[in-house]
């Protein structure tokens, strides 16, 4: 079946709209119109600029549905209430990346982060992620449960492990998803800050099993408004979150699946979550996880201590340090090449899932290394990568 790509349609909740037409007046491109009963948005015109959202006195303007076929103006004009969200059958018969986020800006951020792999589907055995339960207009409030420095005191980078309790708010997440953090206040143009995206570093059932909390791994950026805000939060402080976001950079639920995880710096966040998930559900599954982790020094590598405590048999860990005095620069791609034998085996295995996460700059080197390793093993990396992408086994999230 050749179904149209699902898309987000902007609608107005007719039950609560008071027909003031303020949205119609504030729409810069004439996408909104009305009859005596309803005010409606023309899906073929609306470009989701959001100019109409804040002037709406009722909030009815902030209504969205995922549709394959947009509701026509005629349909909308006749509504007394919004239709239910349609359910979509699992589309495992094609390269469907799924919707990562309903917020245009967040979706754009994720699309940029996933540029390295392009639009790829989630692993076929991955759980279905929930997205956009909370947005800018309707964020969820969390309480800081802990804020710990992960890097040693003398390291040049301050990376923090931040635990956020969601209380009673439903916030179902999967490993590999992200959340938006809303930094209070305004930017220099007097606009409220847009949410910044951070990967969740805890598994789906919570930082502590069955606690409704999540952890984030956040590096303090010198001029980063949001990262400084979050890194300075104290236990008991509240923080506003949006999300969760992301529907492709997810882990397979298949116990046979093997994960090859390659990261730098805070790119380790999703892999911490992946690893913890595996530790909780498949603690005996040895030889299935490989981690290649790059940082400047051991002191600046987040989770260095805890990682070293995980048995090699469970998580095959390779560190690459680029700034250790008296030692040559070593990057993740160098570590990959050193392990070319096992990597080539992994590439041949149809159960292998590759995840790359971290600085954009790492992509090229990693790709070249994988290309060389595949070539030596008489495989064409380009073809293989394409195959892996299509089957949801190759994921890149870089920034």
């Amino acid at each position: 079946m050749n179904m149209a790509e699902p898309q987000k349609q902007h609608l107005i909740d007719p039950e609560f709209c008071i027909r003031c037409y303020t949205c119609e007046e504030s729409c810069p491109i004439g996408a909104i119109t009305h009859n005596d009963d309803n005010v409606v948005v023309d899906a073929s015109v609306c470009n989701h600029c959001m100019d109409c959202i804040s002037p709406c006195p009722t909030g009815s303007i902030d209504s969205w549905r995922i549709v394959t076929e947009p509701y026509s103006l005629e349909e909308q004009l006749g509504w007394m209430e919004l239709p239910e969200q349609q359910q979509f059958a699992d589309q495992d018969d094609g390269p469907d990346a799924g919707l990562e986020a309903l917020d245009e800006s967040i979706a754009a951020l994720l699309a940029e982060a996933h540029e390295g792999s392009g639009q790829v589907p989630a692993p076929s055995s991955a759980s279905k992620s929930s997205i956009n339960l909370y947005n800018l207009a309707n964020p969820v409030e969390g309480v800081i449960q802990g804020n710990y420095r992960l890097t040693s005191a003398d390291a040049d980078s301050d990376v923090r492990h931040i635990i956020i309790n969601l209380g009673n708010a439903p916030f179902p997440v999967l490993e590999g998803q992200s959340v938006g953090i809303i930094c209070p206040g305004e930017d220099k143009n007097g606009k409220p800050h847009l949410p910044r995206l951070y990967s969740i570093s805890s598994p789906r059932d919570g930082e502590r099993p069955n606690a409704n909390n999540i952890s984030l791994t956040i590096k303090r950026e010198e001029l980063g408004v949001c990262s400084n805000y979050v890194c300075d939060l104290k236990k008991g402080d509240t923080v506003k979150l949006t999300g969760p976001f992301g529907a492709s950079f997810l882990m397979p639920d298949d116990p046979q699946a093997k994960l090859l995880m390659i990261c730098t710096g805070t790119g380790s966040a999703p892999f911490r979550a992946f690893t913890m998930r595996r530790q909780r559900v498949l603690p005996q599954q040895n030889g299935a996880l490989k981690l290649f982790f790059g940082a400047r020094t051991p002191e600046s590598l987040p989770y260095f201590g805890p990682l070293k405590k995980i048995p090699e048999t469970f998580l095959d860990t390779h560190f690459a340090f680029s700034r250790v005095e008296g030692k040559p620069k070593n990057h993740v791609q160098d570590e990959l090449r050193l392990a070319s034998g096992p990597i080539a085996e992994a590439l041949k295995d149809p159960q292998t899932y590759i995840y790359i996460c971290g600085m954009k700059a790492m992509e090229e080197g990693v790709d070249a290394a994988l290309n060389d390793i595949a070539g030596k093993a008489k495989m064409d990396w380009g073809t293989l990568k394409d195959e892996m992408r299509k089957s949801g086994r190759y994921h890149v999230e870089t920034y």
């Binding site: 027909r19 003031c20 504030s26 007394m80």
Partner: protein
């Protein structure tokens, strides 16, 4: 001293009209300001001037920046002068000057007509604040109290908007009119407000919601018509006021809806199916649907009177001059001059209701009133949907436009809400079936007990579906600071 005051004053008044470089208007506003504050103190909300209210303040006119929420004491509210952005190349949208560039200054020939329109509009703004000044005392929740005060401060701002136009464009008589706005008082014997409905009491919260739904909606339609004015500063002022007016519509529509919802819930909980079993319903501590219908009849018909006579040469002149347009003038597909068009208007001759075609130009009021009725009907449909959802058989209805009128062709005509003409005696006899009686008023009054605990609501009104500015249910919208 004057210099620093001026600068300080400019920062006190958010504006996008360059007040700081317009010394004459600035001075006039400075002179007017203390009187306004005094008026607000004397005639504004009673008992809450020291409370911190979670209000939205307009600080700019772009869609993303005009609604800033924060706690503020009402006397410190930053009443500002905000005009919608000027539209490049805007032309006069109607009348004999149709298509000519919009006026940036008052055209001499229409000066008194424009002044009159602005004064009438301006007079309604403080009037409603005066009418509602005691309501805070009986607020059914902090949420509702906050909404009341939001409406009040914005009506105050709308007065500022009209006063600005008067002082900027109408010289000494404009200043005199601006002062008169603070001198007249709602319900006063000697110096009443200019329009009838604005001298009526707003004794309870159902009246308040009905008032904001029906009477503020007249205000909205008038603003819509003035937003079509060829006098560009008036158009721009009204366009921005409409953005704020939308919140008032919201308060009215959802206020009535929440009362209806609570009544239906209580009836269902108690197993009462007959909406006319008034005593039983009232015993539940909620307002019965027939009484809500009576209140609707009252406020709708008082509001219809605000549109003036169905056939009016004044309205024709204003339209023809391009000073006041029709609702959504620029979206109407006709010649915008109406020289040869007709419009159906009612007549009441020999105790019969008839419809005749009159020159469209003279029926401008009638047309705006029809648009109003259409608009008002939208909310009634939604209220009825709520009642239906609760499986209660009852339909709220807008009464016939001839019912209970004091202005226009139906003035004092004995017409029922269904549009039947009966004798004057019969009408007097049945009046209390259609309009709230003293006993109805007493019952509603008996429910008006303040509920000021965050997140709590009076027995007769359902909580809102979402909070203001997405605040949670138990948000403290008003910090009372009672002595």
């Amino acid at each position: 001293m004057t210099q620093s005051m001026a600068v300080d004053y400019d920062t006190m008044i958010p504006n996008n009209v360059g007040l700081s470089s317009d010394r004459r208007v600035l001075k006039a506003l400075e002179r007017w300001h203390p009187g306004y504050i005094k008026w607000w103190g004397n005639m504004g909300p009673v008992g809450f001037q020291e409370s911190s209210v979670y209000l939205r303040t307009a600080i700019s006119v772009d869609p993303k920046g005009w609604a800033k929420f924060d706690y503020i004491k009402m006397p410190d509210y930053r009443w500002g002068i905000l005009l919608a952005p000027q539209v490049e190349g805007r032309t006069i949208p109607c009348g004999e000057h149709y298509g000519e560039p919009a006026w940036q200054e008052v055209p001499g020939e229409y000066r008194s007509m424009l002044r009159r329109l602005i004064v009438i509009q301006g007079d309604t703004e403080p009037a409603s604040v005066e009418q509602q000044r005691f309501l805070g005392q009986t607020a059914p929740s902090l949420y509702d109290m906050r909404n009341l005060f939001q409406v009040n401060v914005e009506e105050g701002r709308h007065l500022w908007a009209m006063v600005y136009l008067l002082q900027k464009y109408f010289g000494s008589d404009g200043r005199e009119e601006a002062n008169e706005m603070l001198r007249r008082q709602s319900g006063s014997e000697e110096t009443p407000r200019m329009l009838g409905a604005f001298n009526e009491e707003t004794p309870d919260w159902l009246s308040f919601f009905m008032f904001t739904y029906f009477t503020d909606r007249d205000g909205k339609m008038q603003l819509e018509a003035l937003a079509q004015s060829g006098f560009d500063p008036l158009s721009r002022t009204c366009r921005f006021m409409l953005t704020e007016e939308a919140h008032h519509m919201f308060v009215g529509e959802t206020g009535v809806a929440r009362i209806i919802q609570r009544t239906c819930e209580a009836m269902n909980e108690a197993g009462i199916t007959d909406p006319y079993d008034i005593e039983k319903v009232r015993a539940l501590g909620v307002i019965d649907l027939p009484t809500i219908q009576k209140k609707l009849n009252l406020h709708y018909t008082l509001s219809l009177d605000l549109f003036g006579s169905e056939v009016s040469t004044n309205a024709a002149s204003a339209f023809n001059a391009g000073v006041k347009g029709r609702y959504q003038e620029i979206k109407i597909d006709d010649d915008h001059q109406l020289n040869n068009d007709t419009y159906a208007a009612p007549q009441f001759v020999n105790n019969k209701i008839e419809t005749i075609d009159v020159p469209a130009l003279t029926a401008i009021n009638m047309r705006l009133r029809d648009d109003y009725t259409n608009d008002a009907n939208g909310g009634v449909k939604r209220w009825n949907a709520l009642i239906k959802k609760s499986n209660i058989e009852f339909d709220l209805k807008l009464p016939h436009s001839g019912f209970h009128r004091r202005i226009g062709v139906f003035d004092n005509a004995p017409i029922t809400p269904d549009g039947l003409v009966i004798s004057k005696e019969q009408w007097e006899e049945r009046q209390s079936d259609w309009l709230p009686s003293l006993a109805d008023g007493d019952f509603i009054q008996s429910l008006m007990k303040p509920v000021w605990e965050p997140g709590k609501y009076a027995s007769w009104i359902a909580p809102p579906r979402t909070g203001i500015d997405n605040k949670p249910g138990d948000f403290e919208y008003v910090q009372l600071h009672m002595a």
